[in-house]
Symmetry: C2
Amino acid sequence: MTELQALDKLDKAILRRLQHNGRETYDLVGEQVGLSASAVLRRVKRLEEAGVIDRYVALVKPEAVGLGLTAYLNVRLEKHTESHKRNPMDLFRASVQTWPEVVECAAVTGEMDYMLRVVVRDMAHYSRFIMDTLLKHPSVEDCKTSFVLDQVKVTTVMPV
Amino acid sequence: MTELQALDKLDKAILRRLQHNGRETYDLVGEQVGLSASAVLRRVKRLEEAGVIDRYVALVKPEAVGLGLTAYLNVRLEKHTESHKRNPMDLFRASVQTWPEVVECAAVTGEMDYMLRVVVRDMAHYSRFIMDTLLKHPSVEDCKTSFVLDQVKVTTVMPV
DNA sequence: AATGAAACGTTAAGATC
DNA sequence: GATCTTAACGTTTCATT
């Protein structure tokens, strides 16, 4: 992760292509943006080293693997720390990393402290996650769920 | 998109690898899961055709391209349709597709109708999006924002 | 004009499919 | 075998002197 330069037209065009198809060949990318494959490669390496391109991934469609239920979950934490224990925030954050159902978690402003997106098989699975895992966690005071009725838009494309 | 079969151990192992690195060579994947490259390729093609693997993408780190502010945005729509107009829901959904700042949008249960995740450069940018775009939209009745203070977890890995 | 830095294209060998 | 990636090398461009 070297120094981050401003992105020019070509960088942005390359990013647009790779954000839609992370496996597009450098030849094809070059054809689209008006460069040779090796020139594209050099720029991509620069973008990777600058941390602009974080990584390449395969996206799995949740319904296709039996994950039919998504929920947004607001969590409020206990605020007081018992002196001999780790503080609730650090404890909660560490736990979140270990829960595979939680695909997204952010500290947010507002009444609640955290916003989570949770992906599970069905309501029984969700119920177990809430009852047996989340609400049993010592840092969690309260939570509030909004179930997803319909995915309108899901994209990994950043508006560059 | 052919018929979807149950996933066996090997399919799941392959998915685990490709969800972490969408460009891992079939040779290396095979080494990890105990298959030859060509056997891995056959399975991956099956998974692609079955729609389990939706696509491959490059993930761009938002901060690295100057997108420093993320917000969760709850939107409530007008419910009554003026007979000569398109219904508010369809109109809103179509608009969301055209707004690049909105990277995620779902119809949800609860007081509000939609949950959006919005990625922008800064507060000025967000303000403009809310004032000039969202609240001027004929379908939108009300909205409520939670700003992201800290990203705790962001993953595209589905818990298979 | 001469210089150096940055970026490009061509080529060819090696890796991957 | 065909395609794709990658490093090496020579060339072009452009800002600076």
